[in-house]
Symmetry: C2
Subunit: 239 residues, 2 copies
């Protein structure tokens, strides 16, 4: 199909499609004449994936480019690709403040990072994560990216005076286990390498958004039950 | 304390502190002379909260400003403030792509929004959410912000050809219920209005990051158990 048809079918405007090609997240079409290219169903599918990761997953285009580059490289062993995918979709990396261009923010990033790595809260948080992994018997290296990410969250909770929230760790871990097992079962149903890798990306990113929305819905329900007035509680939690 | 001391204690550089004051997320200090201001523990605490919401929660400064404005307005009833807080921390709103300044993206935002609201996937997704709420007996208005957010995730899953992932909805909802109950118990321990509101903000934002990290850790463990080689599986999931 031509680029206009691809735009119509995907709902993505032509200039944006061209932008994605320039940024390397979407493969170029096949040239059929010096200034005309043909696109196929693979392009349409890829466009939908890019939009989902951007809009629902909140990933940056550079994170998406890195993940898709690994997905598209047939020379990469599957476990390597999955490592790249998991590493790029950690909120720490993708959720940086938009205002980081403001003067003073550049030096600050380094200072804060240094402070986070060295503060007493960070050492405590790393110990809490190590204890959690041991307590639950999880086969995870304490230097794993997600373990570092979790330590960052715990350190932040201590710093803002909400260290008591860390006591909920096991309630959260109990909930995370069946979810992770279901995710893995979903992924294992895939056979083709590209399908498998894509399902990990989709499941990790959209699965996180799905759980976040469900948790907030469950908050509304829990507060309705706790406070006895569903209507009031609905407003309470942002209905 | 003076601004230099506030900077040293919080780890936030002086120019950034001044920037936060200008942006309205941090109250100005009390002037003690025409060009000197005094800050107190409240400022230090607020700075740590801003950093946590920015760095770990991934909120934008404008979202933080809106939430904190409501927190700081004593004329606002608590349930209203909590509504604002819950509404501002929905990924849909804060997780917009950084690249949106690129030409073509402005028109596109509208087009895609129109497509999302009108497409067949969206109508199906809204029905799936309504069915979920009915099936679980949750006291939630189907027009709730989190319900709309969930419908957006489900529509995205259908669009990228992973509609089968929606079958995991109840596994996720089973996990979300005890987490939400524990969150609410945590919040209800607070008595003072400011504490209560802050704990909702912290719990919602940092709690989401905490669950995300735990889910990824549980993925590593689940794959280690499924594939039988912990070391291989560790690399598999980005260790």
């Amino acid at each position: 199909m031509r680029i206009g048809e691809l735009s119509r079918r995907s709902g993505v405007p032509v200039p944006t499609i061209k932008y994605y090609v320039r940024e390397g997240v979407l493969p170029a079409g096949t040239l059929t004449s010096p200034n005309q290219a043909r696109y196929d169903d693979g392009h349409e599918r890829r466009l939908r994936l890019i939009r989902a990761l951007l809009d629902v997953g909140g990933l940056s285009l550079s994170a998406i480019a890195e993940v898709l580059e690994a997905v598209d490289d047939p020379g990469q062993p599957v476990h390597k690709v999955l490592g790249v995918a998991a590493g790029r979709i950690i909120p720490e990396e993708s959720g940086k403040p938009e205002e980081s261009g403001e003067s003073g923010e550049t030096d600050e990033a380094e200072e804060v990072e240094a402070a986070e790595g060295a503060g007493p809260e960070s050492a405590d948080a790393r110990e809490e994560v190590a204890a959690l992994l041991a307590r639950r018997g999880w086969y995870v290296d304490a230097d794993n990216a997600a373990a570092r990410s979790l330590a960052g969250v715990l350190a932040a909770l201590h710093r803002v005076g909400h260290g008591a929230f860390v006591e909920l760790l096991d309630v959260y871990a109990d909930a995370a286990e069946p979810v992770a097992r279901a995710d893995l079962d979903y992924v294992r149903r895939r056979v083709a390498r590209e399908d498998l890798v894509e399902s990990v990306v989709v499941g990790t990113v959209l699965g996180e958004a799905m759980f976040g929305a469900l948790r907030r819905l469950a908050h509304v329900d829990a507060s309705a039950r706790a406070y006895g007035d569903p209507e009031e509680a609905g407003r309470w939690a942002g209905a």
